[in-house]
């Protein structure tokens, strides 16, 4: 099976889940042909609501649905959900603990052609700071398919961060995903890379290079950024003594910060963060070259690993 773009994988998975659960309703803010919530809309027109270009209203209407006993999935661009609709998400979703599922599309640099206004590079940091919010960043098609029912059936708010693009296949069969659990994709003894989203396949490539150089590299996928798999992080810190995090997000507040928070509290080891270096990016010709241009390349991951190993305490 070919890897789909994340939006297509999600659009199809949501449509499929709509068949299973009649309580799911889907809302969009005039982006259904971008987020591909239109697959659900075409299959279940009576359970699809387009609120127009009004993300704050999108959130509140979904909250109303949740109060009325339905399971609303809202779809829009992550930059708008996490910024323009943040107050609604904070007050009416997180603080009120309503059962709203936020499918945040076009995250990271994936809307490369629309430029920095549309990039979403601080959304994980923002959402992670909301008490009660679950933050999920899946890697590929089969993983997204696995997450949709888990997200829907979890009682409480979830922020599901999705890319417009698609990385390479990470999971060849549908993984058993669980909120709060990461996966050890590859076992190594010299260094651990902790990663999520489209950076997972890039991290695996970096690990291949490092292995050839004799550096035994562990690769841990951490789709559940909140709650995070503390146990897995601490085991990696213990085993390899140094960590690298990779994410398509600012180095402030995202996965790297979350990992650093865990190790500084329990077992301080060096953490090198691969991510966007606290800058606004720019428009690019395609997602991959934009990611490479902003320090998210395979070579950047290797370099971070060399630095992390140098810093390792003996």
């Amino acid at each position: 099976m070919a890897n789909l773009s994340q939006r297509e994988a999600f659009g199809r998975a949501l449509m499929a889940y709509g068949q299973e659960s009649k309580d799911v309703v889907v809302l969009d803010a005039d982006t259904s042909s971008s987020t591909l919530s239109k697959f659900f809309a075409e299959a279940f027109p009576d359970r699809f609501y387009n609120v127009g270009i009004a993300e704050p209203c999108l959130v509140d209407v979904a909250v109303g649905f949740a109060l009325g006993g339905l399971i609303p999935f809202i779809n829009a661009f992550s930059a708008l959900l996490s910024l323009r609709a943040l107050e609604q998400i904070r007050t009416c979703v997180a603080y009120s603990n309503t059962n709203v599922k936020i499918a945040a599309g076009y995250a990271g640099l994936s809307d490369y052609k629309d430029g920095p206004t549309h990039h979403s590079l601080i959304d994980i940091g923002i959402m992670r700071m909301l008490p009660g919010m679950t933050v999920i960043v899946p890697a590929d098609t089969l993983e997204i398919k696995a997450w949709v029912p888990v997200v829907a059936e979890h009682r409480g708010p979830v922020f599901l961060r999705l890319s417009r693009a698609g990385g390479e296949i990470v999971h060849h069969k549908e993984p058993e995903v669980r909120i709060g659990k990461g996966f050890e994709l590859r076992k190594g003894s010299d260094i651990s890379i902790i990663t999520a989203g489209l950076m997972v396949s890039r991290s695996l490539k970096a690990a291949d290079i490092l292995m050839k150089e004799g550096i035994s590299t562990s690769v841990i996928e951490m789709p559940s950024i909140k709650p995070i798999d503390q146990e897995l992080i601490l085991a990696a810190a213990e085993e390899t003594g140094t960590l690298v995090t990779t994410e398509e997000h600012s180095v402030l507040g995202g996965l790297g910060s979350a990992v650093a928070e865990v190790v500084t509290a329990h077992n301080p080891v060096p953490v090198e963060k691969v991510g966007i270096q606290d800058v606004f990016a720019r428009t690019g010709p395609d997602p991959d070259s934009l990611m490479d241009a902003y320090g998210l390349g395979v070579e950047d991951i290797c370099q971070a690993c060399y630095r992390a190993i140098t810093k390792k305490k003996n």
Binding site: G52, A54, G64, L67, E87, S96
Partner: protein, 282 residues
């Protein structure tokens, strides 16, 4: 159901007027006791809240989570004292809780909280949410074949927030006849008169242009409130906006029409004077 005789109607109205004034006294006592809260907009909405909770809404204090109950969203969440007084008088929790409002171990928060206080159908406090939230609940009712109605009470200044109009468009798009919004039009907001801070008129035309059914009433006349709320039930394919003309600080001479009383607590002496003035009307 048999028609109420005019005598029965009058008794009912007198009862609701008495409740409204009781809620005024309760609210001011709470605000004075805590030395925090919002008296002006609690006093202006007293008849509206009294009528909703003690006449119009189909609710059951013994079962606050009852699925078929009518819902109420206090969009102008700063009138929390008034809502808490109404809920306590209705029997959702003990009247003695009102004195503990704001205590660390008390369920009554500064603004209404769905997770902590029985009878609160939605958290509010940041202004602007009522219509969009209410519209979502109305759509949920429709999706689940439920016949409950959703009421939301808005401030006038609150309608300066853009999301109000996002929700207004949505409610008319989906022809939400089960949604009734009431605007407590006292023309006073925190910084001064609404007509100075950010003029809202012509409101009747604005809501009409957004394809709402609009009723204008005197928000201190219980009979008019009852009739408007009844009328709103008859519109099955259009949401209703009841523009209720009110007086900020109603019933307390030194508070009426004064923006300084939007969010200030009375001294114990001022409380006694206020209670005496309200008491004379009961």
């Amino acid at each position: 159901m048999k028609e109420a005789t005019s005598k029965e109607r009058k008794v009912n109205i007198n009862k609701l007027e008495r409740i409204a004034n009781q809620l005024r006294i309760d609210s001011l006592e709470m605000i004075c006791h805590r030395q925090a809260g919002h008296p002006g907009g609690s006093l202006s909405a007293a008849e509206i809240v009294a009528t909703l909770f003690f006449h119009t809404m189909n609710i059951n204090p013994a079962n606050p989570e009852w699925e078929d109950r009518d819902r109420f969203i206090l969009s102008k969440g700063h009138a929390s004292a008034l809502l808490y007084a109404a809920l306590a008088r209705k029997g959702y929790f003990s009247l003695s809780d009102l004195e503990r409002w704001g205590d660390l171990d008390c369920h009554l928060q500064g603004h209404p909280d769905i997770l902590k206080t029985p009878g609160v159908d939605m958290t509010s406090g940041i202004l602007g949410h009522g219509i969009a939230l209410g519209a979502g609940l109305c759509l949920a009712a429709r999706a689940k074949n439920k016949s409950y109605r959703v009421y939301t009470l808005l401030g006038d200044g609150e309608c300066q927030a853009g999301i109000i109009w996002e929700g207004a468009m949505l409610a008319s798009k989906y022809r939400l006849g089960n949604l009734t919004a009431i605007m407590d039009y006292n023309d006073v907001q925190l910084d001064g008169f609404v007509h100075d801070i950010m003029p809202m008129e012509p409101l009747l035309q604005k809501w009409t242009a957004f394809k709402w059914h609009v009723i204008e009433i005197n928000g201190h006349q219980v009979e008019e409130i009852i009739q408007a709320l009844e009328a709103s039930k008859a519109f099955h394919d259009q949401p209703t906006m009841i523009i209720a003309h009110t007086v900020k600080g109603k019933g307390v001479s030194f508070m009426e029409n004064k923006s300084e009383w939007h969010g200030k607590a009375p001294t114990p002496q001022q409380l006694e004077q206020a209670k005496a003035e309200i008491g004379r009307r009961m």
